[in-house]
Subunit: 407 residues, 2 copies
């Protein structure tokens, strides 16, 4: 059972979370609880570090920001003890959660189970583990990157061969789309790992992408639940293998992202190797290029359009202008349009169903929405459109693919 | 160099503290810095624990409250790095600071130096260590009790055979008496370990008693300095062996404590064993009896008076009434007077000088102050007087023993 920052934001909320743990213990389960820092704490600590040292030593960053989870772990253990549930806390180094040395974005390499299993053998019913942290081969504290507690939870579930991994958060599950912009959004009972991965990387903030990858690899039965509502066992959304999905929808959900900018290099010489000449310097500059489209060539010149996160526009412009100065590429001008958004439809059913893209384009055309860039994967189609059409596009696609109706 | 909570209360103050460390590094010293939590942090965490679980598991208490020091240690290391001083942080378990298992009041048993010395050998100039914490033989986090960072500092100075141990705090040294009630109070350049011990246990809040004991045992040259004033090397107060004291004062200081109550058992049967019959149940009830006086016996009965901390009066009354009911003692009534205070003069010179007590009593008599109870040690005389005379008594004694003049 993993409780995120908003689920442990106050002592009262920690008590509510502990009660949910108590219910599982009463059913006879031994439970590993993974906790985040009380909400706001990690941001406060990150603020301290960044103010102290803008180009901080990531090892010290990790030593500082990991402390919030330690506080919650101890308080959760005390709360459970008050409820007469035998519990104790573990910090990452005590388990130990062995990670790589990539401070601030370490990966879990090994979680020995002997320590905690020995305590379960002695009558302990709940091991409370500080999420988000581990220990490097050099014996220093590491953290897994923001949202890393989800990954901690899945990794423990895999290491201990847990019956399931329940992620308690401030939403009650995964939705067909964002309920704030489409009132017909419907909570999904189940979603396939692959779909969840696409949705997570498209900006759905329910689960950290890596935690989903890990759950998929180790076949961890992953459930997203709200810690703020009374729920029964069937509540929330189960993230699982596609074989376990009963619903037969072609499309599982519609995602959107405001954080996209469209860049166009106007009048580039269309010659072999031009794509490499453009995108290598962008990659070197740390620009995450998402979608790419190349216009039809005319008189040996073409326009090259790509999308990247809004906050990387300046970096992309600098990389392109530098490349132009060095003579490696040539273009007439570089245009940046930040008034765009990305709309995606995701569904494993696309693998076997043709016509999803055609239907998507037709729906958008009927609404008078012009598609600027298109990119597809095996189970996803994304388009870039003017940002003012975002709500309209999401709602129209949600209707068209019947997402408001259970499968 | 140890920096207390007020000396690292903000990022600005951490920077000021780091500058003092930088000065020592520039002189060629390798430095171990011991830090407390930012002031207010530990109290906040203790509050969380007590609200969660009034009779808390001390192991979880320690896991929670030790986190404040970890934050400061990382921030101090980052601040030093920003000043181009090679530094890194250590948490207690990383050194490791080995302690007993007495959670919340553990004692340091061993501090291996190899880890930190190896890093000094590699060019690191400052090891920043989280104070107040250690690790038990069972591998769990321990804390040393409030003010424990002083003890951490002295223990590191002893383990690493440091040239000296500088305690940076919010006062600029040890005074002949409390400057808030006697404007002639003078900062001492030097004070003997034994005197500092008496003053610390009499309520002077400059140093934790255990840190002074430890410094005395291991001959650590201990200095108390202000982190808020510009100081030169000779500043502050040096706590040292009495042989190193140049000043030849008989009395080093005058201490006072408001936190004293006087209890009197009226008309107790004066028989052998009566003292044991009274003070054994008080000890069993956890009452810290300080001073004791027994009146002259009349008709086989006497009055027995003792002092104890004000907040233990109710407990002492209950213990005495219970003992009376059980028949083990008999008295007419029990009186409690909380309008008293304790005034003490302390000085190693008393060992060789007679007449200090006589002079003290005479001074108080001249001011019309009645002495209610007296207790003495080899280097201390304490009296209980009415609380309204506290300032008067301190000022008169300070004058009489010429404490405003350097020795």
């Amino acid at each position: 059972m993993k409780f995120g920052g908003t689920s442990v934001a106050t002592l009262d909320r920690i008590r509510r979370a502990a009660k949910r743990v108590g219910v599982e213990v009463a059913k006879g389960y031994d439970v590993i609880v993974i906790v985040s820092a009380m909400s706001g704490e990690t941001n406060k600590l990150v603020g301290y570090v960044e103010e102290t040292s803008p180009l901080f030593d990531a090892r010290e960053y990790d030593a500082v920001v990991s402390s919030g989870e330690n506080v919650t772990a101890g308080l959760m253990a005390l709360t459970l003890q008050e409820m007469d549930v035998p519990a104790r806390s573990w910090q990452g180094w005590q388990v130990p959660v062995r990670t790589t040395s990539a401070h601030a974005s370490a990966r879990i390499e090994e979680i020995p189970t002997d320590n905690i299993m020995a305590k379960f053998g002695e009558g302990m019913r709940v091991a409370v583990v500080a999420g988000f942290q581990g220990i490097s081969p050099e014996g220093r504290i590491t953290t897994l990157g923001r949202g890393g507690s989800d990954t901690t939870a899945v990794a423990f579930a895999a290491a201990f061969d847990a019956e399931r991994c329940d992620i308690y958060t401030d939403v009650d599950g995964v939705y067909t789309t964002d309920p704030r912009i489409c009132e017909k959004a419907r909570k999904l009972d189940r979603i396939a790992f692959e779909e969840m991965l696409e949705l997570a990387s498209l900006g759905a903030k329910v689960l950290q992408t890596r935690s989903v990858e890990l759950a998929m690899r180790y076949k961890v039965k992953l459930r997203v639940l709200s810690s703020f509502e009374e729920m029964d066992d069937a509540a929330g959304t189960l993230v699982c293998d596609e074989e376990d999905i009963m619903e037969s929808k072609v499309v599982a959900g519609v995602a959107h992202s405001r954080d996209e900018a469209k860049m166009t290099l106007v009048s580039v010489a269309d010659r072999p190797g031009i794509a490499a000449a453009i995108f290598t310097p962008l990659a070197d500059a740390g620009v995450n290029v998402d979608m790419i489209v190349q216009n039809i060539s005319e008189d040996g010149r073409t326009d090259m359009t790509f999308s990247c996160p809004t906050n990387q526009v300046a970096r992309a412009q600098k990389a392109m202008n530098d490349a132009k100065e060095s003579g490696s590429i040539n273009f007439h001008e570089i245009l940046a349009d930040t008034a765009v958004c990305k709309i995606s439809v995701v569904g494993i059913g696309m693998r076997s169903h043709t016509g999803v893209a055609a239907k998507m384009f037709k729906v958008l055309a009927q609404e008078g929405i012009n598609i600027q860039v298109i990119t597809t994967s095996e189970i996803k189609i994304s388009v870039l459109v003017e940002r003012k059409y975002m709500e309209l596009a999401v709602q129209a696609l949600h209707d068209a693919f019947d997402l408001d109706k259970a499968g």
